[in-house]
Symmetry: C2
Subunit: 308 residues, 2 copies
């Protein structure tokens, strides 16, 4: 059981407002932080949220627009000023590496920790850890852009102690093996892990769109998300603007979420023209039954799916 | 009579806090904005303060540390997204020009307006307008840094209508000449402007320290300021840290203000270690009788000096 929360650190598109900062969202999974985008000024909400300067951390930048990457410099510097020495893994396009090195040269700031830079230039799995992986998919934006998915691997089913006892399997090492998916031979008999455990317990899946038009590819990429954070810069009246600027409307976000069977949809990345987001929620709720609205510093619990 | 206000847009040193953003202060003089430093995220307070995206504007960057210059990119982009087409004058070191061009190339953002870049590499007058000038002086910081002064020229004294009438000077053009400092010959007689006007009315002088140790040079540079905005990163207990990091203590700020006969001293640029600034105020007030504390979005009226 790993606790997982998502916290919005910035939810405005292109220009910040008094209430909304520029794009950034973090997933706190156990003791690790997975940050997606770092718009200018996001470090203040990072600080307000008390996320901590010394955690294991991976940072993913969807695309190289200022409102998605500019805050990375300040965040890195602040972590260093707080004495961080643990390396940070940064994932983004080649231009992100150039952005970091050039600015570190020009502004002349050194960090106490290393940056492990991972160039993301094609689709696929970019992180594979023991319990989860993170993959990316080409989005469709003005500039080259990627969407991301965090997918936890299924956990083994619940170990059926009674059944194991009925097979006279001794407690200890063999229990543990069966519990973790290992078949065993005991007393000359093959005993499958699947005989002793319930059905695998599904991991969670979270999708982060970045800036994009909706596409069939993204619909498939986000299939069956527990939580989909999807941009809705405009309401559907501004469909033409969405097409021109390679963004999505709230209606399109909801259609994509519905078709990809996302359980929950969080709308974010709102144009500053909307003081009231209710219009966008309403048009999305007409299509998807579980629509919520991102707000700066909103904290979202992501529980495990109930076993079917 | 030109209305002049100063508004703090960011008042924290190096790292922002929940309450204080990174260094930035703007002087609104009539319809013109004079911005000094642009720490990351300052555009949000710029927006909150309702300063307007289409005003005449000059921007001065004291030095090339991220917490003083990073916000410039976002501010410029936001002004452009708001449709600004009027050029902006930017004053800073050569590295600032490189910072702007490199980031505009890497992040690929175009502006609808021109940047008139003015390289500041030595002391002296950097702006000379009809009613004021802005000059800079070498500060003493870890990196090359400049302090700035805005100095309004004295306005002519009040025109003495009764006296002019007694000299039988006809109203109109000659009045205007005398009023604006021009001597005239009337009826074969030299009449000096100074005979017909009261004493010149002094302009205002505002000093902005940027990051610095106190120096004799700065004391002279800031002589007789109506308002001095001076960094006080530390209290005097942390004197050694101030020396090491090339900053000032609140006590040092007050001594410099006192010796340079600044009328009002505003302390700013506080280390995040001080949740309560009262300690810093108290040690400064023990020395200078008119000490105030900068806070984000604090608006300060700068009235004309009463004629002596």
């Amino acid at each position: 059981m790993v606790d997982m929360k998502l916290i919005f650190l910035g939810t405005s598109a292109a220009i910040p407002t008094a209430e909304r900062g520029l794009s950034s969202v973090v997933i706190k999974r156990g003791n690790e932080l997975l940050l997606f985008d770092a718009g200018e000024g996001m470090q203040r909400n990072f600080i307000r949220a008390g996320l901590g300067m010394n955690k294991r951390m991976k940072i993913f930048i969807t695309h190289m627009h200022a409102d998605h990457c500019l805050g990375l410099l300040g965040l890195l510097q602040t972590m260093s000023l707080h004495g961080r020495t643990m390396a940070v893994d940064v994932y983004g396009q080649k231009k992100l590496a150039e952005f970091l090195t050039e600015n570190m040269r020009i502004i002349n700031f050194g960090l106490l920790f290393n940056i492990n830079m991972h160039i993301v230039d094609c689709e696929g799995v970019v992180v594979k850890e023991k319990e989860y992986q993170i993959s990316c998919c080409e989005a469709k934006h003005v500039v080259h852009s990627f969407s991301y998915c965090l997918t936890e691997f299924d956990r083994p089913g619940i170990f059926m102690l009674d059944k194991a006892k009925r097979f006279n399997i001794p407690e200890g090492d063999l229990y543990s093996k069966l519990q973790h998916g290992q078949d065993i031979i005991y007393n000359g008999e093959l005993i499958r892990s699947s005989q002793m455990t319930g059905p695998p317990r599904p991991g969670r899946k979270i999708g982060i769109s970045g800036d994009t038009r909706p596409t069939v590819k993204l619909r498939d990429f986000f299939r069956n998300c527990d939580l989909l954070v999807y941009e809705s810069t405009y309401n559907h009246d501004k469909y033409q603007k969405a097409v021109e600027n390679f963004h999505s409307t709230a209606r399109e976000a909801a259609i994509l979420a519905q078709e990809s069977e996302a359980k929950r949809l969080f709308l974010t990345h709102f144009s500053t023209r909307y003081e009231e987001i209710s219009e966008l929620i309403n048009e999305a709720r007409a299509i998807h039954e579980n629509v919520e609205v991102a707000e700066d510093l909103k904290l979202v619990d992501i529980p495990y799916r109930k076993s079917d």
